[in-house]
Symmetry: none
Subunit: 184 residues, 2 copies
DNA sequence: GAGTGGTCTAGACCACTGA
DNA sequence: CAGTGGTCTAGACCACTCT
């Protein structure tokens, strides 16, 4: 299906749609390679910038993933998209005029019981952060969540941070630090 | 703070960091205009492509928003960001070649203890779904999450569903049903 | 070494908004 | 109208991976 240059729809949009369909139809299976950027340029007669714009969109949606020096792969549909779906869950609510919110109820450093210890693969006497949050839609409680974070990976989790900032902000922050360390 | 061309950190990353700090420091207030792309090009001595790459990142994180034919504004730091941040957390991992994943460890219908009952505003003897999930990055456990879902709001939560499909898919599904009822 | 994706440049034309 | 962001091109060099 060639792209339509005269269409008011941008080329990269047309291209994402095209590529998305390849995956939905099952033509491209999870973990299989897709054509290289250069090949896609030739096939659709567009510049590499446009191809990259289209691919970035799909990577962002979690449908594709790339590897340095290797190629671009089709992502596994379940895990990856779960996170994007969560995004659209709250998105959905907002579109319907409901207000998603969350409250931090507890935020403590605790010695985990043996079940948690085993699951998280902790050493003896290793502590975890326990954070309890209530998720609401329009002030109505939907879900209560207890999160246990491996302390080692979130070294200086500030109690005030959790109150003020959403949990995942902190995780990102810590996470970035962790990666940096790994690279150094 | 000029950008460092010799640094191994890409220019657009340096630029996003720079701009992010402007907002965190309060130099750029919500709903105020930021310099135009052309001005940023001149100020930092980079091409427009690089500036746009940096700005796109921040728009994606929900820190900025753009208007056609107008300019780029600083966003209000509200709920929206929390979700975008969460989104970019997994995004980040994927970009760095790490694989975010999750495993369902438990999925049961239980009679909640009094704490959970109070928090969720449940009636006497009302049941909840308890779902325990482990979040990993590259097979390394990061977080253990226990979720307690109000049964009434997720009426026919299928045990197999949870195994196969990500939790939030189900929530969305149920949630849509509920909203439909409300609207009707 | 050849091929890949990651970054970056310097141009270009367009649709849109505001004065 | 001049200025903005939205799209697109055709080059370029790099770090990385595989063979």
């Amino acid at each position: 299906m060639p792209l339509d240059e005269k269409s008011p729809i941008p080329l990269y949009h047309q291209l994402t749609k095209e590529l998305r369909e390849n995956m939905e139809n099952g033509d491209w299976l999870p973990h299989s390679l897709i054509p290289s950027e250069t090949e896609l340029c030739e096939k659709y007669g567009v510049s590499r910038g446009t191809v990259r714009q289209a691919l970035s969109q799909l990577v962002q949606e979690g449908l594709l993933y790339r590897k340095q020096g290797r190629e671009t792969f089709v992502a596994e549909p379940k895990i990856t998209q779960q996170l994007n779906k969560f995004y659209s869950f709250a998105q959905d609510m907002r579109e319907k005029g409901l207000k998603p919110s969350s409250k931090v109820l507890q935020n403590e450093e605790i010695l985990p019981d043996s079940y948690i210890k085993n699951v998280l693969g902790l050493k003896e006497k290793e502590m975890v952060y326990k954070i309890m949050r209530l998720r609401l839609a329009d002030e109505e409680p939907l879900i209560l969540e207890a999160s246990y974070l491996v302390e080692e990976l979130f070294p200086d989790l500030d109690r005030e941070d959790v109150e003020k900032v959403p949990l995942y902000d902190i995780i990102i922050k810590k996470y970035r630090i962790r990666i940096t360390r790994k690279v150094e």
